[in-house]
């Protein structure tokens, strides 16, 4: 069919001789089948980590945040580092589903579902940190603009911290409905196949009675497009506002006009790295090798090189400007000779190594198209981006304006425990998702089968290569 034409030079996005029904079968396999031993082992480890985190959070709330390693000079430490790290990770999902939808990138369809799930689960983790940092999380609702008698009057709309409340809750809720709307046809597919009555009931409930009428699909596509248009500036705004938590303060090292674009690039960088990490495992465990191909990995790696490049240039610019001011104070910001040679030198060099040096390997085509290398590099970037936030917070705050206030931050076991707990919580959610949700947007993948499926491409090109 000529309407399905796609240039033969484009590599296929779906491998193998797949019919529409084959796609259905591939997607429902992990849901209708039984979990294997590896899944239970991974889930067990994640659950233990999560429980440890819950314990540490309860200890923190019961005793007070004095059990953490922060002090009056380094008042933001591990918790805000982790908060920014998780929010950053939460950026790839909606970017993939929204920005790539607007640019009509078909390769997004294999990865958008899991990337959005990752986004939502990561934002859950991010939200925990400011809440615990309040010390009295039961007063968390004070950040909402509600009429009150307790003396705090209205919330302060001039504050970037309040902008954050609005940005992150909007981002979380909009990502959630975007994700869920896309899930409806896929839940309906599982519902209509289910033989166990309980399973059928659950998926009938989740699918909201989706029937797939022509009019429903017309609205579905329009809603997806408009949500993508709304979510695109939303994604960019969220990390812009997170960066303003720092940039609108008067601390040298934080008070920087390049923070918004630089943070957004860093967030996309780390988000795509986490997508690589998760899908690198998932394509094997859930047998999705025909859907998440080398080509997908390469495309994601290209995004990683571009955004990583922006981040590297931002570091260089920060370093140069700090030096160029000639101000001795600037010599203690996170990008300075003072930081590189000071007590936090190890953190500085970890950042340079993991975030700038190692990702450069992706310029090599062989590395960029290799599953195992992409996985290793993505882990390095995850570590590097954590150090970026740690450096920005701990190094800058450790050397304040008054030398008598200079201090160090040492994390306690509670700091580490809460962080490990959120990683556990994240994987608990993700592993449950992988067993119960359609992990690929199968309805969407079916639409590109005739244009980008390997089998159809070969039929159309009239030859059998590969």
């Amino acid at each position: 069919m000529s309407s399905h034409y796609e240039a033969p030079i484009r590599e296929p996005l779906v491998l193998g001789e797949k019919s529409y029904h084959d796609i259905t079968m591939d997607i429902v396999k992990p849901i209708e089948g039984k979990a294997n031993k590896n899944w239970y082992i991974a889930f067990g480890i994640a659950l233990v980590a999560f429980m440890w985190g819950v314990g540490c959070i309860l200890y923190t709330i019961g005793t007070g945040i004095g059990v953490w390693g922060l002090n009056k000079n380094i008042g933001w430490a591990w918790d805000i580092t982790n908060f920014v790290w998780w929010v950053g990770i939460g950026h790839a999902g909606t970017l993939i589903s929204a920005v790539l939808l607007l640019f009509r990138q078909k390769w997004r369809m294999a990865i958008n579902r899991s990337a959005e799930a990752m986004t939502i689960f990561a934002v859950f983790q991010a939200g925990l940190f400011p809440l615990i940092h309040m010390g009295r999380p039961w007063n968390g609702y004070w950040v909402l603009p509600i009429p009150n008698q307790f003396g705090s009057l209205w919330v302060n709309f001039n504050s970037p911290l309040l902008w954050d409340v609005f940005a992150i809750s909007t981002y979380l809720s909009v990502s959630l409905v975007f994700w869920w709307t896309g899930l409806l046809p896929d839940f309906a597919m599982i519902r209509d196949r289910a033989v166990k009555p309980f399973q059928k009931k659950i998926y009938a409930l989740l699918s909201f009675g989706w029937s797939g009428r022509a009019k429903d699909w017309q609205r579905f596509e329009e809603v997806s497009l408009v949500l993508a248009g709304l979510a695109t500036p939303l994604v960019l705004s969220v990390h812009t506002i997170v960066s303003m938590d720092f940039a609108t303060s008067i601390n040298p090292g934080w008070h920087s006009t390049i923070f918004p674009p630089y943070f957004v690039a860093g967030a996309i960088f780390s988000g795509f790295a986490m997508v690589q990490t998760l899908l690198g495992i998932m394509r094997k465990v859930s047998n999705l090798e025909n859907y998440i191909t080398r080509l997908h990995v390469e495309y994601m790696n290209i995004v990683i090189i571009v955004t990583g490049g922006i981040v590297a240039v931002a570091y260089a610019s920060e370093f140069f400007i700090a030096w160029y001011t000639g101000s001795p104070y600037e010599n203690y910001t996170y990008m300075s000779v003072g930081a590189a040679t000071g007590p936090y030198g190890w953190a500085f060099w970890s950042l340079i190594l993991f975030n700038i040096a190692i990702p450069q390997l992706l310029w090599i085509t062989k590395v960029r198209r290799s599953f195992i290398w992409s996985f290793i590099i993505s882990i390095a970037i995850n570590i590097g981006m954590w150090f970026e936030r740690f450096d920005i917070i701990a190094i800058v705050l450790s050397k304040g304006h008054l030398p008598s206030t200079w201090t160090r931050f040492e994390p306690t076991f509670v700091d580490v425990g809460v962080f490990v707990g959120t990683i556990g919580f994240f994987f608990v959610l993700f592993l449950l998702y992988a067993r119960t949700f359609p992990v690929i947007a199968q309805a969407e993948v079916k639409t590109i089968m005739k244009s980008s499926g390997q089998h159809y491409k070969q039929l159309r090109d009239g030859k059998n290569e590969h």
Partner: protein, 175 residues
Amino acid sequence: MSTNKVIHALYNDDDVLMDAVKTVKESNHHIEEVFTPFPVHGLDKLLGLPHTRLAICAFLYGLCGLAFATWMTNYMMIEDWPQDIGGKPNFAWIYNMPAFVPIMFELTVFFAAHLMVITFYMRSRLWPFKEAENPDPRTTDDIFLMEVSVDDNEEELTALLNTTNAVEIKVIEKH
């Protein structure tokens, strides 16, 4: 007269379905509904469905969000209880406005996105515990179903549908 009768013609390919819809339309039969497992591009135009106005709704909802944010920041920060926060101007909303841009933006997106999705769910009758209405469970997998109303022309219609490469043709009595 058996006006409650419909014919279900099932297809296993989107292109075959499109051709069938064309054929049925050309011979002036009324297509009640088409159920498909994924969005088939151009199907809505072929069926003559009017364009959806959800995008216009979203724009209007966004305006509501913007208006709400404007009212809220003005009422809370300027009228009800002005405070001196870092010397920012608190006597007129317009002077303090740059600090409110993020809130105004977020609420615009919040209102537009959520109210549009709610409108979509209401219009397409999608909500928890709603019973699905696709007549054949395979239509969410790989079967495309066209429902054509019968008006004392069952045989003629069946003959026509038989020429469209349908994999199954069923006459159904609707209640």
